[in-house]
């Protein structure tokens, strides 16, 4: 039994932190928000150089062949600096799905390019309410019509994994690997979290070759379940990083900011508020570690573990980011100080990949508190 980072994880963590600091730390999201989107390309190049794009890509495809637990520290560090870009989508969704469900040809085509940093993935899974995305198989191509909303970083990603309706029933969901940069229409929408750009992506008679089908046709729901579980674990880990940072920020600020001739951290109202933040962080970190462990080890309780992490961490991240603003007083209310970056990121993750309430419903389901089980119990 060992519940802390091992040497390798610690190394990944330190390397990431040093690298991000060398690139400007919180200046990275700042620059990105101000329109300097080239920072993302630089960043991605650097991550690839460090080998971080291929950590869980098998060695025969140019990667290192490790698992989810090895990405965990990198994700935490990215959360600590509110890093923009589809890193989680690429390494904790596209790569594992390609590993598990991709054809040999798909693996050869995509994985080496992902590992080298050439190819970035995002995903498109939420339908426009009024314009559901459908795919008709015509000859060797799927013909796509409809739109997806809330697609993160469509501008930067080269490819996206798209969930499409390929049949009459609600269950007929298939996953396609789509080169949206060809001629899908990517319409940016404004979000309070300007470090995660969101797009509505519309397809109009858009052709996707049949060989871009990921997994079996109409097996999309099951594949998605696995992929989203890992992606959710990944984003939960970034929240731990964000919380770690706001605890640090608060602790530092209240040690130095003086009022009434005292550092404000000497007043218990402030002092204990930072402790409450720390306790929330401790919980979040524990749930994140465990969730990632169940993902890597395909443990039987992985869906429950990930739902615990996501529901707890997303609410705790909002709460601590909120407290961090309060601890900074008026300065926390300014655009200039960094406090709001964390609050906004926390909000943009709150309901992404399922709301806290939905994840708690999932805990209930996975724990067998749902109807069927209980009625058995009562017999």
């Amino acid at each position: 039994m060992d519940f802390a980072f091992n040497e390798e994880q610690t190394m990944f963590q330190q390397t990431t932190r040093q690298y991000l600091q060398s690139k400007g730390d919180l200046a990275i999201p700042r620059n990105y928000m101000e329109g300097k989107q080239e920072i993302l390309t630089q960043l991605w190049g650097g991550l690839a150089e460090l080998g971080f794009m291929g950590i869980n890509v098998p060695e025969q495809y140019g990667g290192i062949g490790l698992g989810h637990l090895s990405i965990l520290p990198i994700l935490e560090e990215m959360g600590r600096a509110v890093i923009p870009g589809p890193y989680p989508e690429t390494v904790a969704f596209a790569i594992p799905l390609l590993n598990e469900f991709g054809t040999e040809e798909q693996k050869k085509r995509y994985l080496p390019d992902v590992a080298s940093g050439k190819t970035k993935f995002t995903l498109a899974i939420i339908d426009d309410r009024k314009n559901q995305l459908k795919a008709d198989l015509q000859g060797d191509n799927y013909v796509l019509n409809g739109a997806k909303i809330l697609v993160a970083h469509a501008e930067f990603a080269d490819l996206m994994i798209v969930a499409v309706r390929t049949g009459a029933s609600n269950q007929d969901v298939s996953l396609l690997i789509v080169d949206h940069q060809l001629h899908a229409e990517c319409q940016p929408v404004k979000s309070i979290d300007e470090t995660r750009t969101l797009f509505t992506v519309s397809f109009s008679d858009f052709l996707v070759p049949k060989e871009n089908l990921l997994g079996q046709e109409s097996a999309g729901d099951q594949i998605l379940k696995a992929g989203l579980n890992e992606l959710t674990a990944a984003w939960s880990a970034t929240m731990v990083g964000g919380m770690d940072r706001v605890v640090d920020m608060s602790a530092q600020y209240v040690k130095t900011r003086e009022q009434f001739g005292q550092p404000v951290g000497r007043f218990q109202a402030v002092k204990h508020k930072v402790v409450d933040m720390l306790l929330a962080l401790e919980n979040a970190r524990s749930l994140s570690y465990y969730a990632s462990w169940t993902v890597e080890n395909k443990a039987g309780d992985t869906f429950e573990a990930v739902s615990m992490a996501k529901s707890y961490n997303s609410e705790a991240f909002i709460r601590t980011a909120n407290a961090n603003i309060q601890n900074h007083g008026g300065m926390g209310f300014t655009w200039e100080f960094d406090c709001h970056l964390f609050l906004k990121r926390a909000r943009s993750l709150e309901n992404y990949l399922g709301s806290p309430q939905e994840h708690r419903e999932n805990i209930a389901k996975e724990s067998g508190w749902n109807k069927e089980k209980v009625l058995q119990y009562n017999k």
């Binding site: 404004k190 979000s191 009434f260 109202a269 402030v270 909120n322 603003i325 007083g329 008026g330 709301s355």
Partner: protein
């Protein structure tokens, strides 16, 4: 114990409602409540509204009739704020002038000051701001360092203020400066009426986390004031500022009524948004949360009324205002946070892309200021503890 309005109060309410219906900007009551975003457009829009209010006799309603007010009772003031919240009226640009500076000058100003300023406050000819906080004097206001030094017959003021609302649109500033450095910190402060349009005064907008620029830094570099611009006496500014703050109850009323409105809109939001084809409000969990908010918003309203009753009976505002401020700012933040949660994965969309109404996102972010400005929640708790419960003061060096 009576929770209903008297006939004359109801009359007042009807009169105001009618006036609002006729005078609010075009389309306002139908929900087209767009205020220009740019500083200039916003300034003009708000000045127009201020002038309209003043022409209609609806600015500074508690002022004596001889100065252009209505001599409104406390209850009428409350009705006024309630109605303004109901229609979500545009903010009163000269609120510092009409609610605080004007009444303070009427209280303790010189005849000359009354003559010179008071009418122009009401008709919006001169917009006022207040210069209190400084970068190193937030919660600890008495530590302010902006200095005013007498040179000949002029006071020369140097320093920096922060969090000055609408400073960039203001003509004059009610400013606290240090005129004496010996003795206790709060005994060397003087209150000045300072002209904003002068070479020694420079304002710089502060961008808030909701991407608005309502607050400012004000830099004072050899700004000038006369003896005639002093309110009260030299080194008596701390007491003067307390007089001014005692007129702040109206702000609390505004916050309380805004909450009532916000709750109604929260219910509408839950009725409008759907999940799996069902309105969210049918979700028993949503109902429980709304019911909690319902009880809390109502409780704050009645508590405000109870505290007001005390003020009316004793003839002076009590320390209960701190409880109202504390509770309403915290609840406002909570309810707006819940409105964010209800909007699902689209909850962060804002400005023209907002899911329902961009004001949810803007107000949510704005709400983080509620618990900081005008005394942080931590400071309010100290005030309540010490002034209402009689608990010991914090240990200070």
């Amino acid at each position: 114990m009576d929770f209903s309005y008297s006939e004359s109060e109801l009359l007042f309410q009807t009169e105001l409602r009618t006036w609002l219906e006729e005078n609010l900007p075009e389309g306002w009551l139908d929900g087209n409540r767009n205020i220009p975003a740019d500083n200039k457009g916003k300034g003009e829009f708000l000045r127009d509204w201020q002038r309209k209010l003043s022409e209609g006799g609806w600015a500074g309603i508690s002022w004596p009739v001889e100065y252009g007010g209505r001599g409104a009772t406390l209850i009428e003031e409350v009705i006024y704020e309630q109605e303004m919240a109901r229609v979500k009226a545009p903010p009163v640009l000269n609120i510092i002038g009409t609610a605080m500076v004007g009444p303070t000058l009427l209280d303790i100003g010189t005849e000359e000051q009354k003559e010179k300023y008071v009418r122009k406050i009401l008709n919006g000819e001169e917009i006022w701001c207040q210069g209190y906080s400084e970068p190193n004097a937030g919660s600890d206001l008495a530590s302010l360092q902006t200095k005013a030094v007498k040179q000949g017959d002029k006071w020369i003021i140097n320093g920096q203020k922060i969090w000055t609302s609408y400073a960039h649109l203001s003509d004059r500033c009610f400013l606290l400066a240090r005129t004496e450095n010996t003795g206790k910190k709060h005994e060397g402060i003087t209150a000045f009426l300072v002209k904003m349009d002068q070479p020694g005064v420079e304002t710089r907008g502060i961008r808030s986390i909701n991407d608005q620029y309502d607050f400012n830094e004000v830099y004072l570099n050899d700004a000038v004031a006369d003896d005639a611009d002093i309110v009260g006496e030299v080194n008596n500014g701390w007491k003067v500022s307390l007089t001014l703050l005692s007129h702040e109850r109206v702000g609390v009323a505004r916050q309380t009524f805004r909450l009532q409105k916000q709750f109604d809109e929260l219910v509408e939001l839950a009725e409008t948004l759907e999940k799996n084809g069902r309105p969210l409000i049918l979700d028993p969990i949503v109902q429980q949360n709304l019911a909690i908010f319902r009880a809390k918003t109502k409780a704050l309203l009645f508590s405000y009324y109870r505290h007001l009753t005390n003020s009316i009976r004793t003839g002076k505002p009590g320390p209960e205002g701190s409880m109202d401020k504390l509770a309403s700012s915290e609840l406002g933040q909570e309810m707006l946070a819940y409105a964010m949660s209800l909007q699902g994965a689209e909850n962060t969309l804002w400005k023209e892309d907002a899911l329902v109404d961009a004001s949810w996102q803007r107000d949510y972010l704005r709400s983080f200021g509620y618990t900081i400005e005008g005394g942080t929640s931590e400071i309010q708790k100290n005030i309540v503890a010490e002034r209402i419960l009689g608990l010991p003061k914090d240990i200070k060096k």
